[in-house]
C-alpha cells in the first residue's frame, strides 16, 4: 500500500431523504481529501453542507456511493465499528460548541476520551495539554457559561483534538463568533494544519473560506472543487 492513500475518498456519494418524493441533499459527490489538507466547503443554506459533513464524520450513511476513510470502505461497517472509528479518527467542532454547561472545561475536554477507552490515569494531564494548545489552560476549572464565545469554541476544539484525530470536521466554526474572535480561531486551525491535521471546514463566509488552502462549493447537493 502506498503512503499516499487519501484520508477521505468520496465516490459518487448520494444522500436522499424520504422515499416517496426524495429530497436530494447530496447528488453524486466525489472528492478526495489528502492527509494534511485544509479544505473549506462553501454553499448557501440548505445546499447539503451539513449532510456532507455528517457522512464524513460517520454520523450518517450515504444512500448510495462509497466513502473510504483512511482507506477503509465504511459501507459494510457496523454501527459499533463506525462509532469506534469515529472516536479515534474524527474530531468535531460545531457552530454551537456543544459544551456541557454543568461540567468544567477540563471535564468537557476529557469527555472525548470516554468512548475510546483512553487511559484515566493521564487523562486530565492530556486535557490540560490540549487546552494549552488552544491557549485555554487557565480556564480549565471554569464552567462553560462563564466563558466568552471564542473561549467556548477553543474549549470545543481542545475536546476535538484530545484523541489526536486525523480528521477535524468543523461545521460553521466561526458562525457564532465576531470576526476578530473568528479570525483567532482560524489562526488556531492554521497552527493545527501546520502540525499535520486534516481539516474540513464548512462555512458560508467566503472570507473564512479564503483561509483554507483548498475550496469546494456545494450548490443544491452538487459538489465542485474551486481551483
Amino acid at each position: 500500500m502506498s503512503g499516499e492513500v487519501p484520508l477521505v475518498q468520496l465516490d459518487h456519494v448520494e444522500r436522499t431523504f424520504g422515499d416517496v418524493a426524495p429530497v436530494y441533499a447530496l447528488r453524486g459527490a466525489s472528492l478526495d481529501i489528502g492527509v494534511g489538507d485544509w479544505i473549506a466547503i462553501v454553499g448557501p443554506s440548505g445546499s447539503g453542507k451539513s449532510t456532507l459533513l455528517n457522512i464524513l464524520g460517520l454520523l450518517d450513511r450515504p444512500t448510495f456511493g462509497c466513502y473510504r476513510l483512511a482507506g477503509t470502505d465504511t459501507g459494510p461497517l457496523t454501527d459499533q465499528q463506525r462509532a469506534g472509528l469515529r472516536s479515534r479518527k474524527v474530531g468535531f467542532v460545531f457552530q454551537s460548541f456543544h459544551l456541557m454547561a454543568h461540567r468544567s472545561v477540563a471535564e468537557n475536554v476529557m469527555l472525548a476520551d470516554v468512548y475510546r477507552r483512553g487511559s484515566r490515569v493521564d487523562r486530565h494531564e492530556r486535557a490540560i495539554e490540549a487546552l494549552e494548545r488552544v491557549r485555554l489552560d487557565h480556564r480549565a476549572g471554569y464552567l462553560p457559561p462563564r466563558l466568552s464565545g471564542g473561549e467556548r469554541q477553543r474549549a470545543a476544539i481542545a475536546r476535538a483534538i484530545l484523541s489526536r484525530p486525523q480528521l477535524l470536521l468543523c461545521d460553521e466554526p466561526t458562525g457564532n463568533l465576531d470576526s476578530t474572535t473568528g479570525a483567532a480561531i482560524l489562526d488556531l486551525f492554521g497552527e493545527m494544519h501546520r502540525d499535520g491535521l486534516t481539516i474540513v471546514m464548512i462555512t458560508h463566509d467566503p472570507d473564512v473560506a479564503e483561509r483554507a488552502h483548498r475550496q469546494a462549493t456545494i450548490i443544491d447537493g452538487t459538489l465542485a472543487e474551486v481551483s
Binding site: S50, A83, G84, H98, M100
Partner: protein, 405 residues
C-alpha cells in the same frame, strides 16, 4: 490491530452517571425523595412489625412452650370416676422434664361472702363475693407465683387442714389488706382464716389474683372437696409434647383416657400468623410509596433525556454507540434508586431504633431487609430508567445535534 469497536470502561460509566446526577444535585435529591420515603416506610414497618411480633411472641413463647394443664373429663356413663388423684403433683414431678406441678380447684361456697376480721370500718362495705380456690403447695411454683409479702402454705398446713389463706393481689386490695405484720384474718362465711401471704403476680391461672387461696387439705376437710380439679404443670422448654403423653398414664394408670390434657398451640405458627398480617399491610403501603418513587425517577430521567438531547448527539459524535447512551441513562436512574435505597434503608433503621427506644422494646430487624433496601432501590431505578434510556438510545445523532441550539 486494535479492536475497531467503540467501548467504555466501567469506571467511566460510573463517573459519567455520577457527574450527570451531581451536576443537578437539587433535582436529584427531590427525585430520590419518593424512593427514600417508600423504602424508609417499608424497612421501618417491616422492622417494627418484626420488633412488635417478637415482643408478642417472645412473652408467649417461653410460657406457652412450658405449660400443660390437665383436667378430668366428666364421668363416663358406667359411672367410672375420672377424678384426679390427690398426689397428682408428686406423680408428675417424678417425670423427667417436669419442673413443677400443682393442683388447683375452685371451691363452691354458694353465696358465702368474704370479709376482714375484725371489721375495720363499720361505715364501709366489708364483705365481698370472692372466688375461693384450693391449691396444693406445688401449684405456686407451677404458676410462677411472685409473693408480695408473707409466705405460701406448705405441705404441713395442708395435711393438718389449717385455716390459713393466701390472697391474690386484687383480692387483698378489695379487702384492704396490705400488711401482714398485724396478723390479719378474714372470714369466709363464719370460718376464720389467718392470712399468711399475698401474691404479687402469677404467670398462669390469672384468676388466682382475685381469689382467696386456701390449702387443698383444708378445702378437703371444710368444704368436702372430692378431688383436685386441675393440674398445672410447668415443663422444661420443648418437653410439653412428651409430658402431655406421659402425664395421663402417670396420674391414672388405670384410666388414662379419662383425662383431658391441654397445651397451647405451636408457638411457631402463632408467630407466623401475627407477622404475616402486619407485614402484608405494611408491604402494600411501602409498595405504593415505591411506585410513586419509581414514577418520579422515570419522569425526571425522561425530562433529563429531552433536556440533554444535544449532549446525547455530542456523545454519539465522540464515539458513543446507542448502547452506551442507554447504559448511561440506566446507570443514572439506577444510581438514583440506589441512593434512595441507601437513604431510605438508613432512615427506616433509624425509625425502628427510635421507636423501639421510646417503647423500651428490643429492636429486631432482619439484616437481609436492611441490605435489600439499596438493591431494591437500584432495581426500581433501573426499571424506571428503561423507557427514558430507550428514548435516548434511539435518537439519531444528526437529529440530536441539530435540535440542540
Amino acid at each position: 490491530m486494535t479492536d475497531p469497536r467503540s467501548s467504555v470502561s466501567f469506571a467511566d460509566i460510573v463517573s459519567e452517571s455520577l457527574a450527570g446526577l451531581f451536576s443537578r444535585p437539587g433535582r436529584t435529591g427531590l427525585t430520590v425523595l419518593g424512593t427514600v420515603i417508600g423504602l424508609a416506610a417499608l424497612v421501618a414497618t417491616i422492622g417494627l412489625s418484626q420488633t412488635a411480633g417478637n415482643r408478642i411472641v417472645g412473652r408467649f413463647d417461653e410460657l406457652a412452650a412450658t405449660e400443660i394443664t390437665i383436667t378430668a373429663k366428666p364421668p363416663g356413663l358406667d359411672g367410672t370416676s375420672n377424678d384426679l388423684p390427690w398426689d397428682a403433683s408428686d406423680r408428675l414431678t417424678r417425670l423427667n422434664g417436669v419442673v413443677a406441678a400443682g393442683t388447683i380447684s375452685t371451691i363452691d361456697v354458694g353465696d358465702v361472702l368474704v370479709s376482714t376480721s375484725p371489721v375495720r370500718d363499720p361505715a364501709q362495705r366489708t364483705d365481698f363475693k370472692l372466688s375461693i380456690q384450693a391449691a396444693s403447695p406445688g401449684l405456686f411454683d407451677a404458676v410462677r407465683a411472685v409473693v408480695r409479702s408473707g409466705t405460701i402454705p406448705d405441705r404441713l398446713h395442708s395435711e393438718r387442714g389449717e385455716q390459713v389463706a393466701v390472697l391474690g393481689a386484687a383480692a387483698a386490695e378489695r379487702l384492704g389488706i396490705n400488711r401482714l405484720d398485724q396478723l390479719p384474718a378474714i372470714r369466709i362465711g363464719d370460718d376464720l382464716f389467718l392470712v399468711v401471704g399475698v401474691l404479687e403476680d402469677v404467670s398462669r391461672q390469672f384468676d388466682m389474683l382475685s381469689a382467696v387461696i386456701i390449702p387443698e387439705g383444708t378445702a378437703q376437710r371444710m368444704y368436702r372437696l372430692a378431688a383436685p380439679e386441675t393440674v398445672v404443670v410447668e415443663t422444661r422448654i420443648g418437653a410439653t409434647n412428651l409430658i402431655s403423653q406421659q402425664a395421663p398414664l402417670a396420674l391414672r394408670p388405670d384410666n388414662p383416657t379419662g383425662l383431658r390434657v391441654a397445651f397451647p398451640a405451636e408457638p411457631q405458627r402463632v408467630r407466623e400468623a401475627v407477622q404475616s398480617d402486619l407485614n402484608l399491610l405494611f408491604i402494600i403501603l411501602g409498595s405504593v410509596a415505591l411506585l410513586v418513587g419509581a414514577i418520579g425517577i422515570a419522569n425526571v430521567t425522561l425530562v433529563s433525556v429531552m433536556e440533554r438531547t444535544g449532549e446525547i448527539g455530542l456523545r454519539r459524535a465522540l464515539g458513543a454507540t446507542r448502547r452506551h447512551i442507554a447504559i448511561q441513562f440506566l446507570a443514572e436512574s439506577s444510581t438514583m434508586g440506589f441512593i434512595g435505597g441507601v437513604m431510605g434503608g438508613s432512615a427506616g433503621i433509624l425509625i425502628v431504633v427510635a421507636v423501639s427506644a421510646v417503647q423500651s422494646w428490643t429492636p429486631v430487624l432482619d439484616v437481609a431487609v436492611a441490605l435489600a433496601a439499596p438493591a431494591i432501590g437500584a432495581v426500581i431505578g433501573f426499571t424506571a430508567g428503561i423507557y427514558p434510556s430507550m428514548r435516548a438510545a434511539t435518537m439519531e445523532p444528526v437529529e440530536a445535534l441539530r435540535s440542540a441550539v
